[in-house]
Symmetry: C2
Subunit: 170 residues, 2 copies
């Protein structure tokens, strides 16, 4: 397998995971900057034509990464939680059915709106990463699944339960 | 940084990159199976409630990975192409504005439709990975950017050029 290396870092208003909006109905509208390393600037050519980008990043401060020691190889299973209860529900779900940071590979994914580019700085809206998060890759957002074709499993059920009984949240 | 490890492997009809549909209008409707390693089965709990999944995988047979030697650390720059001409255009674009495999981190991303789950096997539609591709992560597809809000830069321009002059393709 390969060892990932940062292509840049996120500048975000969130300094601590507790500050990131979570749970049902959480909105991600924070402005941030994707600061790309100068050696990769050529790779940004024509990116400004896209309204939305997919950012792939590392959960470098997840329980998993912290326990393993950031900067070392993260190939152990310490800190991984295959079944966990997300902030948006009071029932446990499999890690691959959630966005939990306690994943076997600590890879995060966020879709952001590209507002403007200034050289190696991509000014974006919709960050939910912590300040200083290492960026692994950026891809153009090319197409969407129509919402009428989406089923959203436990998340839709949790939303429905909340609507029926707003006080039924732990 | 962390060293990624596979959580499973893709079973795909494509044995070679030349077989994967590419270019403007290419459709990804092939059926495949995401075979998850038994040690991670618990992490699939409740995944069957989602109609679509985001699969994050490794370009293990990209020029970059091959030249570096698959199985070794892929942290060099050999095989990375910061500016390249994609199959869908005859003009070069930055790697972060394309889905090229010659990326600094050889990470691929595909949205698939989940047809059914059989234990550790996720039967999906829409694979564009090669047979045997290592899977790094799976996330539920939760929401879409409405198509009327999307701008798709050089790709939209290439499509428009093709419509105006179908023979103007190299």
């Amino acid at each position: 397998m390969f060892t990932s290396r940062p292509i840049g870092f996120v500048s975000s208003p969130y300094k601590d995971a507790s500050e990131v909006p979570k749970g049902l109905g959480a909105k991600h509208e924070a402005d941030g900057v994707l600061k790309i390393l100068p050696e990769f600037e050529l790779g940004l050519t024509d990116i400004e034509g896209f309204s939305h980008l997919i950012v792939i990043w590392e959960f470098d401060r997840s329980p998993q990464s912290r326990k393993q020691g950031f900067g070392k190889q993260g190939s152990g299973t310490h800190g991984v939680e295959l079944l966990g209860t997300p902030p948006s529900d009071n029932r446990p779900h499999g890690v691959f059915a959630t966005r939990s940071p306690r994943r076997p590979n600590p890879i995060g994914l966020t879709t952001v709106e590209l507002r403007r580019r200034e050289g190696i700085e991509l000014h974006v809206r919709g960050v939910d990463m912590l300040d200083g998060t290492p960026i692994l890759d950026i891809k153009p957002y090319l197409s969407s699944i129509p919402s009428e074709k989406l089923r959203r499993g436990w998340l839709a059920e949790a939303e429905a339960r909340q609507k029926c009984s707003p006080s039924d949240r732990s």
